[in-house]
């Protein structure tokens, strides 16, 4: 009996266990100390949570693109962050000219809708082109190969934009109708920009969910993601369905680019897709890659977690300047999840074909 136990004993498992326990202890101690110190008021916490939700809804929209593509092709589209950048970058010029002409001030709703339309179209077309050029010719190749072309596509998009518009930072204009406006509820003040972003993103996600669950094309996408060969026997054009999947993922990323511009106007440049791209990928993994509701919840969760996490956990451990550790915090989450729960927090079981 003891021998059996020793046979099964593995040092790797042992250290993973220890590591896991240590992480839990650190988190608990951090939270305990932070709350005990009572440094922040409940109003400040609410502010952080809402900022996190708005940021998280942007991650969620991008994460959906990763998860949709993974669900159907079992590959990570590493150019997706740059597809997001392309939409955000293109729309910034329209936004600024609309601000200059006064249209943004007089017709804010139409202006924002136009921006979303432009960014979504650009990202959609670009994502479809990436699929057509970089992935489709490699269908059936070993899974590492399209990963390499994805990185190539990523650089191509980044440096095309750099070549076209230079390496300077651009900014979205402030929208006068939203500027300095707060929604006061239960004694908390929440900026309009965050509410607009959150509501718009949730509407888009609801629309996507309806599309996937109820429409003929949505059902065909699910059928293709389960079994391409049988899908073809139903008369479904698999290549066309994959193209539609990339189009939808791209459009959502483009819209996210505009929401990001509303939420935090600065920092539009050719490399801006990299960090949100990896974070959205984290969100998708968090929700279980391939799982659509998982990506939505994973995005919101990551946004909130990285907004309050540093203050809630790190500060209690006596670490200085915690707000600068936000990115490190998010990526630590990615690493921890990949180690302990690669199937994501929702435990979407990986089917044999996907494992």
């Amino acid at each position: 009996m003891l021998k059996q136990y020793f046979d099964r004993f593995s040092w790797v498992d042992f250290f993973l266990r220890v590591f896991q326990l240590a992480a839990v202890v650190v988190i608990i101690v951090g939270i305990f100390n932070s709350i005990g110190a009572a440094k922040y008021t409940s109003g400040q916490w609410v502010t952080l949570v809402f900022a996190g939700l708005a940021q998280g809804s942007i991650y969620a929209l991008i994460a959906l693109g990763y998860t949709l593509v993974y669900g159907i092709l079992l590959m990570i589209n590493f150019a997706h962050g740059d597809v997001y950048m392309a939409g955000a970058f293109t729309a910034v010029f329209l936004a600024n000219s609309m601000a200059a002409s006064g249209f943004l001030a007089t017709h804010p709703v139409w202006a924002v809708l136009l921006l979303i339309l432009l960014a979504a179209s650009v990202s959609m077309v670009l994502n479809v082109v990436v699929e057509r050029v970089a992935y489709r010719p490699l269908r059936g190749a070993p899974r590492l190969v399209p990963l390499i072309t994805a990185i190539g596509a990523s650089f191509t998009i980044e440096y095309t934009f750099r070549g076209l518009y230079g390496a300077e930072f651009q900014s979205y204009p402030i929208i006068p109708a939203l500027d300095g406006q707060y929604w006061n509820v239960a004694g908390f003040a929440i900026p309009y920009t965050q509410i607009v972003v959150l509501v718009a993103a949730i509407l888009l996600m609801a629309a996507l969910f309806f599309f996937i669950e109820r429409t003929k094309i949505g059902k065909a996408m699910r059928a293709v993601s389960e079994d391409k060969e049988v899908a073809r026997l139903m008369g479904i054009d698999v290549d066309k369905t994959i193209m539609i999947t990339f189009a939808i993922g791209g459009a959502l990323a483009g819209a996210a680019g505009v929401f990001n511009g509303i939420f935090r106007p600065q920092g539009v440049f050719f490399f801006m897709g990299f960090i949100p791209g990896i974070k959205a990928f984290t969100a998708a993994v968090l929700g279980g890659i391939g799982n659509i509701p998982g990506a939505m919840v994973g995005g919101l969760f990551l946004g909130v977690f990285e907004a309050i996490g540093p203050n809630l956990i790190l500060e209690g451990l006596g670490i200085p300047a915690v707000n600068q550790l936000r990115d490190a915090f998010a990526f630590t989450i990615l690493v921890l999840i990949l180690i302990f729960r690669p199937q994501g927090i929702f435990g979407e079981r990986l089917s044999e074909t996907k494992a």
Binding site: K219, R222, A223, E226, E229, R232, L233, G235
Partner: protein, 237 residues
């Protein structure tokens, strides 16, 4: 002119020469069966006809058109359907959604509604379980679903790859009854089976396949009496 005419096809998997010159015909309204041992090439033959594989040599004509090399999803629009080996139901889709996928190629609302009724009449179990996810169905129910789903394409030619595999004898009878019923309503059937006795008892004609070649071809009744068939496939001495 025959509904389906296959002329000397050769199909490969990489370097593996799986079909070594197969010719067969299926007339409108018939039930034709293809029998043979494991690895003989039965599945490969059906996959080649349905457009999932492209033959390296030879030609296939269907309803008077040359369909060699036409992709599978286009042939569905020409009303050719196949129930794949191992059923291939979409496990995460509901029974209802699986059947809807069968009707993917169609736009005639009334016709689709009529075929839903027809499938539920033939397989009442599916009606009870229409909201259920297909992965939770039993093997027999999945076979019914796969057959019903193929019927939803409204096929003129229906190919089935080992529909009796893994089913209890009662269910095998039910599935074969359904096949005969579907045929009576006007659908031509090309049936691949390990259970040669059952297949020959409902078929008009049969082909015997051995290592990628047709070795025998006759009326079903005659094949049943054939000494070699009795020995190799019907388990008689």
């Amino acid at each position: 002119m025959a509904m389906l005419e296959i002329n000397d096809i050769h199909t490969y998997y990489g370097n593996i020469h799986a079909l070594k010159g197969i010719s067969l015909t299926v007339e409108e309204g018939e039930i034709v069966t293809l029998i043979g041992a494991n690895g003989a090439g039965k599945t490969t033959t059906l996959r080649t006809i349905s457009g999932l594989l492209t033959p390296r040599e030879g030609s296939i004509s269907y309803l008077g058109n040359d369909i060699t090399g036409v992709p599978a999803h286009d042939l569905v629009y020409q009303r050719m359907a196949m129930v794949p080996e191992g059923r291939g139901v979409f496990a995460k889709l509901t029974v209802q959604e699986n059947l809807e996928m069968g009707a993917y190629s169609r736009n005639d609302k009334e016709g689709i509604a009529r075929d839903f009724e027809r499938v539920f009449e033939l397989f009442p179990r599916l009606k009870e379980r229409r909201k259920q996810v297909a992965g939770t169905l039993s093997g027999g129910e999945q076979q019914m679903l796969a057959t019903g789903r193929a019927m939803m394409t409204s096929p003129r030619l229906l190919m089935l790859d080992e529909p009796s595999m893994g089913l209890a004898p009662v269910l095998v009878d039910a599935v074969f009854d359904a096949i005969v019923e579907i045929n009576k309503e006007g659908t031509t059937i090309l049936l691949v089976e390990q259970n040669a006795l059952m297949a020959l008892s409902i078929a008009n004609r049969g082909y015997v396949l051995q290592t990628g070649q047709i070795v025998l071809h006759d009326d079903a009744a005659a094949l049943k009496q054939n000494e070699m068939v009795q020995k190799a496939y019907l388990g008689m001495d």
